[in-house]
Symmetry: D3
Subunit: 225 residues, 6 copies
């Protein structure tokens, strides 16, 4: 494995990515065919924030944040930095100073498999983060990794430039080439949901709305007094 | 295992259940003889809410929320829906649309071993939830399970109609037949605690109040300067 | 293992400990040479609180809070009670009554490997706590342990009287004898960080500020268009 | 919760239970409608052993094996002792001396949510055990619990006298009243499996044998070169 | 996400793959630049077996083994079946009958993120398996997924046809296009290791052999009597 | 934290340590007052081996085995190498080459919080190991730590030169100064156990032998037909 920094990979269209931020993670995940969710271990450091952006990917060694420093130079406005490690590690690889540096380059937030520190300071400065760990444990800056290569996080493949959407439910990745059709599907889904919501609120049953009674009966379900 | 829906099981007396909501989970757990706690993995989706209600139980297959839809029809005002899966699963089986449907039938909240999504929306609409997981991962609607059968969750047996109390400390189940005596015991305990609290606040030591000095000495405890 | 209570162990200088509270856990951890962090499993029960104090250590048996009661008598103003168990256990060993008792003796907060209950009441009364578990599960008061002996928690050795600092990033222990030099190092670090922060905010890259370009090149890192 | 010992609960018919031992855990689990499996956390202390017996249930406090001693007197030949704790605990509650005592009363093995010690000695004496933990950590004998009451373990309800089957795949519980019909279903399933095995070994595809091609096509599955 | 079966993807050269089986997982992992390891959660069901083969990938829904049946038809001699699920799930998706079917088509073994059952039967028939879980819990056959698409398992991307090597240390994936150069690097590494082993066995220190004394001194390491 | 290597710390008397190997981990743990057990996460790489030795302690950075190489030079015949990391890490820091080097210096085995690789080779060469993880994931050799300083592992403090006993139940540490009295207590305990074993095998109940009937009755235990 050669250690590389890819300097300007193609990114999803930012205008479309911005529109994706209008839809929640659950909706976008359904819109791309129930895929792309980065799993429940990525928890928000704040409550009530939803963002979207393009992935600036970083691959670090465990307990080593050298490549995050190297990645800052590659950041473009609209990016979300996505950091993973070559093996599972929860040490505090990211804090307020790195966030300050990224904000100066227009980065919108952080998604990371490692540990976050300065959690209160990051909330105070309004830099949103979704991470698998919170930890004050310090890291070294010794071993090179890569920037803007494909990485996996939470069982998903993330390519540099892919669209990322994050909110209180977690994080979802949308392949850059799918951004447009995902947006269309999310719009359609949300329109449809408004109608469903009104029906359900009025007392219509999902059993009837989704026509589930017949398949349940066929599957042998019995009602007992 | 036959898949069944029991249509109108007896429930704990709702007037008594409502009074149980005046006591915290820890107090109720102690009042029924230090039992019934559903364990630390069930975490609240909101902060500072305490509810009580009668259990509407649902047994689903992993990654499948079909039976939650079927359960809505069985809901009665005052119910808390209690959802578990036939094997451990954290997928996002429950979100805002199901909550909307349940609210229209008077359901007070959710207790679930699976994953919650639309977490911010649920906080916004004031639908309280205690779940073992948060996840946007979508589920299918394919395999029947059961509604209003006894289930286990967090090492406790929960029968349909049992009383459920939930707050920031977690969730406790009170067998329907014990609701009255539990209420009496909780009252007695809380009265007693007020007295203890005042003594402890004034500097009286638990060592003296609980008469622990003698047993500690008998057990061989030594004081060393 | 003899069960003992050490009645008045030497403590870190409280004036210095108070000053340590001006620095975050991450800063203090770095200031003592990147050590002393009690790990990510100790999570705060509240948000935005930072405290420092001297360790009042307690060693309990699993599911048994007898020694916490015995420890109250040993508390001195400025202490933080640090509770661990002889084997891993998450039961709810600590709640509002014990907190009331400790507050009356000037204790500033709780750090505990076991479970916390009455979480909302503790937030209401302003008693800060960092614990590995939240649980309403009750404990017994049967088996003696020790008070003010060295304990381990989160992979760290904590001696009675050591300085403890805790905030939203977790908890760090500073050996009592190191309090003064740690304070000096934290001061120096924070001064230095202010300078770095300003540079990074203005767009200076960490790659340049930390002089990382040459070692990265030596390590074989390649840039690819 | 009253602490009780039920002295001679009804048990599943031992002749039928003995016959169940001829079928593996996976087969029995399927035969009772895909239920009763105690989950993957119960691992065998030995390899290649399969047993069946009637459940002698024990409920202990964490880190306390008092009730296992009390349970020995209730043991009958053909029993399997099933031990759980009121909250999760992995301490070494069971070892060679307790096994010696149980063997003298005809007990066939151990299923336990807590920790096992003397693991090599137990293998040497041929006493089979399935436990969630291995631990040398000692326990106390202080707090009473119950014997021969319903318990939950691995998400299953186990009543005293239920049939237990255990092998390298784990442990399954069969309600005492279902032993006969489960045996019949297991026999039918195994006969059927022999036929399937021969077909599959000869190259027949499950796709054809289970008639899956049509539903897969209907569900929209596509084949791509 | 369209559900697809790719019918005959290119595979790594089987002659080279066969030679890779002569090297252990740790050696191959180092030979491809310290990458490709599928992580510690994949444990062998047997001891002392090492295999290599080409990946036949399968993506299933949790608790559903429908696509494993569909994958059998796509198996070619020399394949290792690699099964993952759309969200984490440990249910017993694979047992003896599926193994029988795969053996009839020349498949060499199993790598799976889900649960294994019939563990003893699989050892008896000599079908090697590496899985994240052991479980007798049955699965349904309801929801389509995909066969021979890229999947992630243990943080690695696995493409159909990639080379897989597995032994008691776990599992490593080698991209199909890298098989030849990986083989060369593994050979070189092993030759080198024989030489090192002899030196170390004779008492030469790694400190000297790897020339570590100088960098350690530079890094400030002190020797203390 | 200064990085240091302590070159020849005092060790427990090897003649006494050798005698400790005649007693199991569970017995030694009880003999020192139910303390010193390193917990269930340290699992043996082999079955049926029991060793004792003196601790050669190593503190590494996560994903970095540099200090293990530095520790070899400090090894003395009779040592057991005890390796921990500054934060939790399961990477494969130790394999066959390091074992070869240690064997040449008379080291008896390995106890480690990180990951083991070459597991089959280590079994073949008869080098026993107890580790928290098995992993082929490679480590770097970059960051200095310490050798022969006090470390914590599994919640226990281990000083260089302490006695270590390990078998299939796990690992226990005995402070060097306690070796002699621990040996005496283990002898007494084992003698006593032989007597108990004979009684229990003959059908005497623990309830009577340990005189538990009266305290159980006092605690309110009821017998129910």
């Amino acid at each position: 494995m050669l250690n590389v920094i890819v300097t300007d990979p193609p990114r999803a269209d930012l205008a479309e990515v911005d529109k994706l931020a209008g839809y929640g993670v659950a909706t976008v995940h359904e819109a791309i065919g129930r895929s792309g969710y980065l799993g429940p271990q990525l928890r928000p450091n704040q409550q009530g924030t939803r963002i979207a952006g393009t992935a600036l990917t970083v691959l670090c060694w465990p307990g080593d944040n050298l490549m995050i420093h190297a990645a800052v130079e590659q950041a473009r406005p609209g990016d979300i930095i996505v950091i993973t490690t070559t093996s599972p590690n929860g040490d505090g690889a990211f804090g307020e100073l790195l966030a300050t540096s990224l904000v100066s380059r227009g980065v919108r937030g952080l998604v990371m498999g490692a540990g976050l520190r300065d959690t209160q300071e990051l909330r105070d400065m309004g830099f949103p983060a979704w991470t698998a760990h919170v930890s004050a444990q310090g890291t070294v800056k010794e071993t090179p990794g890569s920037v803007n290569v494909p990485v996996t996080l939470g069982g998903q493949l993330i390519r540099p430039g892919d669209a990322i959407v994050a909110d209180d439910d977690g994080v979802v990745v949308v392949p850059a080439a799918w951004a447009e059709k995902t947006l269309a599907a999310a719009r359609a889904r949300e329109a449809n949901e408004g109608d469903k919501r009104a029906k359900l609120a009025s007392g219509v049953l999902g059993l009837d709305m989704y026509k589930m009674r017949e398949p349940l009966e066929k599957a042998g379900l019995k009602y007992i007094d």
